[in-house]
């Protein structure tokens, strides 16, 4: 019995190879795409995979709002917070801070710039990374201790055990290696070379502890609950808001806190310019569901369409005594065979595509049948469900027919379910059109954001030196002067902040507009900053070296000029605010340009010239001779600051690095959306073949009545055009709504223009036409005598 079922099933599939191939490919690609998306989503939801008790581990998220300024959200918090928590929660919670810094590590003459996390002793009991040597509970108890990652240990100490060895930090302090951890995986926020004690003299936590200001936000606050509850933390945070920020009550600033699970923190945190992680995951999940739905609909559609063909066979079998059960079983075998084969093929595709996708995403995705059995099981379940849906309808309808009915119905073209089929085709097209529209906008926004940032660095290449802050004031000054004087270069400048920098220096004043608090971001720039970037002045003059040094003579950006109350930039020039040493005198106004991130509004900026807080040097190099220029930069740095290795990169590479994540997500999304559209087309191809076949007789009649090939092609193609048009009418408003919502998350967003909608519509229509017209043409060309012969 089973053998008979299988052989008949296989033979039926073989007889109809086009149908079988279309379904097999469609299903396999759909299952594979969905599995890949599932793997990625799991990877993203599973950050900090080494956490022993993820549900007990929290971070504090601070929301800072300053008057008239957008304010900011940050995972960094005042360093004094830890002591407050320890007093309030005692041993019902472990609390540790984390702050990362670029630090020069050296062992003998081996020296390099590394990312080092400075943490409290409890850190490794909260962030339970795997120790290869040393004691996680006590490794960082001593103020001079450091834990190295495995690759750092090899880099500095080679094959010998590093435990007990010493390492120089910043040429200022010595640390003793007390542990070695496995290299952190790709999905952790704590991907550092080494972790050193927060009490180290090099640690910024230490420095900020001394300053003791609650308005400085410098270190992550990590909490592992051991009996305490979230409510306890909440209460403590509310108390801190109340006691540490009294100005919130009088002015219109606010400082509030949220508790986030450590595992979700990377969605909140702006890592390398990506902050939309969760949105794009949700979008991807939707795409996955759409892909499966489209493939499923195709399959069901084709199967039911084809079932009509088998009416005669069912009639004959029934007249020979087959029971309803036997017929149902037989009609179900074929779709099950197909879906299971599709699933197997999908596993092959996943294994082939996984390394490639991992590469594109910059994430290590793995799939193992043993460990991921739930996923395998789920996929099998979905496959069986699709098979059941595809087989059930025809099986039930056909098996219910009496033999006479079946034989009589065989001659006719199956009309009954064609309305349902039309509806499904419309839905499928609507989904495709919507997907295309949304992805076009996502791509556009990604490119726009990047372009806006890139325009700032137009012209000859710019080189950024990122560790200027390391130098003392006089070295810094000579460095910039020498870079400027160097003939191999096209000029140099410096600033206190740069693209992708999250540090802010905010100020709020009440002496600018009467009765109002005005707040803005302060940025220190070297006078050559504007000419080097080719930013024109809207009014007034540029800063001048020597003459305007200090924080009194300032240049405003256009937004700040408006905020200060000047309708016309010209009106601002020469105006002074405040008194004595806090006086601001406006000497110029520049247009708005993105300073740190295109995702945010530029906001009011106030530029002044204070070399003591420069952190970045920016050098323009001639595009025609980059190599000698870079050599010159390195030489000048080495001469002026021999103890610190230079940290430099091209501005466009820096931007590319920062935007890569965003762009990558957009690309992957586009890729999967295309997969969905292609699967839809595949289904259309099958349906076109079926429709043409079903209408063979009708076409023969029409041809006998004098219809030409063109008439018939027109007929078949027009029949398809109607559902596409209806699909457009359905898809556009939904897509518009989605796009509006998504774009609302960006400050500087692309306008919603009609062309992506038109592209999606015309594109799908053309694609559909191409797919169908081949078949239509073949059928229309056939001699009418042939079409009518078997009647």
């Amino acid at each position: 019995m089973v053998r008979n079922l299988l052989t008949t099933g296989l033979r039926v599939l073989w007889k109809d190879r086009l149908y079988a191939a279309i379904n097999l490919v469609g299903l396999a690609v759909a299952f594979a795409a969905t599995l890949l998306i599932a793997l990625w989503i799991r990877y993203e939801l599973n950050w900090e995979p080494f956490l022993q008790q993820p549900e007990q581990t929290r971070l504090i998220l601070a929301h800072v709002r300053l008057p008239q300024n957008r304010g900011f959200d940050t995972l960094s918090n005042p360093v004094m917070m830890r002591a407050e928590f320890q007093t309030a929660l005692g041993d019902r919670a472990l609390v540790a801070r984390f702050s990362d810094q670029d630090v020069v590590l050296s062992v003998g003459d081996r020296r390099s710039n590394e990312k080092v996390g400075f943490v409290d002793p409890e850190f490794f009991r909260i962030v339970t990374m795997q120790f290869l040597a040393g004691d996680p509970a006590h490794a960082l108890d001593a103020p001079d201790s450091i834990v190295l990652s495995e690759s750092a240990a090899i880099k500095f100490f080679g094959a010998k055990s590093p435990l007990g060895e010493t390492i120089e930090l910043q040429n200022r302090a010595t640390a003793r290696v007390t542990g070695v951890i496995a290299d952190p995986p790709g999905n952790t926020m704590f991907r550092k070379t080494a972790f050193a004690a927060s009490l180290s003299p090099v640690s910024s936590i230490q420095a900020n502890e001394k300053i003791g200001r609650w308005s400085n936000f410098n270190a992550y606050e990590l909490i592992r609950l051991q009996g305490a509850t979230e409510a306890d933390i909440r209460r403590e945070l509310d108390r801190l808001t109340d006691q540490k920020y009294p100005e919130d009550k009088t002015g219109n600033s606010s400082h509030t806190f949220d508790i986030v699970a450590l595992r979700d923190a990377h969605f909140v945190h702006v890592v390398d310019g990506r902050a939309s992680g969760k949105t794009s995951l949700v979008t991807l999940a939707i795409v996955a569901v759409l892909i499966i739905a489209i493939a499923g609909v195709n399959f069901v559609n084709l199967a039911t369409a084809r079932a009509a063909r088998r009416t005669r066979e069912v009639g004959v079998r029934k007249s020979l005594g087959a029971t309803r059960r036997a017929i149902t079983l037989q009609l179900l075998t074929e779709p099950f065979l197909l879906t299971l084969a599709g699933l197997l093929l999908a596993f092959v595709l996943v294994e082939t595509a996984l390394p490639f996708l991992s590469d594109v995403l910059g994430a290590v995705l793995v799939f193992s049948y043993g460990r991921d059995w739930t996923l395998v099981l789920l996929a099998t379940f979905v496959a069986l469900l699709v098979g059941l849906l595809a087989g059930l309808y025809p099986a039930l309808i056909l098996s219910r027919l009496s033999p006479v009915e079946a034989l009589r119905a065989a001659g006719r073209s199956g009309g009954g379910s064609s309305r349902l089929r039309q509806a499904l085709v419309v839905a499928q097209f609507a989904a495709s059109i919507g997907l295309i529209v949304v992805t076009i906008f996502i791509q556009q926004q990604a490119e726009h954001a990047r372009d806006v940032n890139f325009t700032q660095i137009g012209g000859d290449p710019l080189v950024m030196i990122n560790n200027l802050a390391r130098l003392d004031d006089s070295t810094r000054k000579t460095m910039i002067e020498r870079l400027n004087a160097e003939p191999a270069l096209r000029g140099a400048t410096a600033a206190s902040t740069a693209q992708a920098d999250t540090a802010r220096n905010n100020d709020t004043r009440d002496d600018i507009r009467p009765g109002q608090q005005v707040s803005f971001q302060l940025v220190s720039v070297d006078p050559r900053f504007f000419p080097l970037h080719q930013f024109p002045l809207l009014a007034g003059r540029n800063l001048e070296a020597g003459r305007d040094e200090g924080q009194n003579d300032v240049i405003l950006n256009a937004t700040a000029s408006k905020l200060f109350g000047f309708v016309n930039p010209q009106d601002a020039i020469g105006r002074s605010f405040g008194s004595a040493e806090s006086r601001l005198t406006i000497i110029g106004v520049v247009p708005d340009f993105p300073l740190q991130s295109a995702r945010e509004n530029v906001g009011p900026l106030v530029f002044f010239h204070d070399p003591t807080i420069f952190r970045y040097a920016i050098v323009r190099v001639p595009g025609s001779s980059i190599r000698p220029a870079l050599q010159a930069i390195d030489r000048i740095w080495r001469d002026a600051a021999p103890t610190y290795p230079i940290v430099r990169e091209f501005a466009d590479e820096r931007l590319a690095r920062i935007w890569r994540a965003t762009q990558r997500e957009a690309d992957v999304l586009t890729g999967f959306a295309l997969v969905a559209v292609l699967i839809g087309c595949l289904g259309l191809l099958g349906l076109a073949a079926y429709t043409a076949e079903r209408r063979t007789k009708e076409i023969g009649i029409r041809k006998a009545m004098g219809a030409s090939t063109a008439d018939v092609v027109k007929l078949l193609v027009l029949q398809l055009t109607r559902p596409v048009i209806v699909a457009n009418l359905l898809a556009w408003p939904v897509a518009l709504w989605l796009v509006q919502r998504w774009l609302a998350g960006f400050a500087d967003r692309v306008p919603i223009e009609p062309w992506p909608f038109l592209v999606a519509s015309v594109g799908t229509l053309l694609l559909a036409w191409t797919v169908v017209s081949g078949h239509a043409l073949a059928v229309a060309r056939a001699r009418p005598a042939f079409a009518l012969r078997y009647e």
């Binding site: 009309g415 009545m705 004098g706 030409s708 090939t709």
Partner: protein, 225 residues
């Protein structure tokens, strides 16, 4: 009206070659009523398909309506079918999804003489065959005889010079068969040329000339009355 000279036609399927027409010559004059008879498989349908320009001969010459059509293009053949020829099939060949009215209208969609007052012509054709009261029905709701009358209405709606009927009574009972033959005779008396395939000598008697085929050749021709 149509002249075939040494026309041949054979079909090839899976290595087997069947000769359907062998060196057949035949002329149909305007106003004639010709019956084609012969055993099953002798090539009657093939001949009718070629006469109706539904299929092309492999060899020989063919002139239809004063034009050489042996190597005419698809567009020209379609035009001739639309304007000059009406078909009636044994199994009616009505389109299930369309109503009686719409089925008749199909024959007016593609020709040059069906553009004006289409509705009127459909109604006229239907009333001539006595099916006007069933205009809104679907083919499946009609009896065989009624379906064949609708098919005849469709064949005459575009006012073609030539009507081709392949066993028009083959699927009908005696009464309905006689009615259909009466209709065809009436159409012929009104001036149309009719070529009909039939197995029934009684029905062949309606025609003025009977052509007998055997193995793709004309073996006999008789004039009636």
């Amino acid at each position: 009206m149509i002249r075939l000279e040494n026309v041949t036609k054979s079909y090839r399927t899976d290595e087997v070659e069947t000769t359907a027409l062998a060196d057949l010559s035949l002329a149909i004059d305007p106003g004639e009523f010709v019956a084609i008879m012969g055993p099953s498989g002798c090539g009657k349908s093939t001949l009718l398909n070629i006469l109706g320009l539904l299929d092309k001969p492999d060899g020989g010459r063919m002139v239809a309506f004063g034009e050489e059509v042996s190597d005419a293009g698809e567009r020209k053949l379609a035009r001739l079918r639309a304007d000059s020829i009406g078909f009636v099939f044994q199994s009616f060949n009505l389109i299930d999804e369309l109503t009686v009215e719409e089925n008749v209208e199909v024959s007016l969609l593609y020709g040059s003489n069906g553009r004006s007052n289409r509705k009127q012509r459909v109604a006229d054709a239907l009333s001539r065959v006595g099916m006007a009261h069933r205009a809104r029905h679907r083919p499946q709701q009609l009896s065989g005889g009624q379906q064949q009358r609708v098919a005849i209405a469709r064949a005459i709606a575009s006012d073609p010079k030539l009507i081709l009927a392949d066993e028009p009574t083959g699927n009908l009972d005696t009464k309905n068969g006689d009615d259909v033959m009466a209709l065809l005779g009436e159409l012929n008396r009104a001036g149309r040329t009719v070529v009909m395939v039939t197995h029934s000598p009684d029905h062949a008697a309606y025609a003025k000339r009977t052509v007998s085929l055997l193995d793709g050749r004309v073996v006999a021709e008789t004039r009636n009355g």
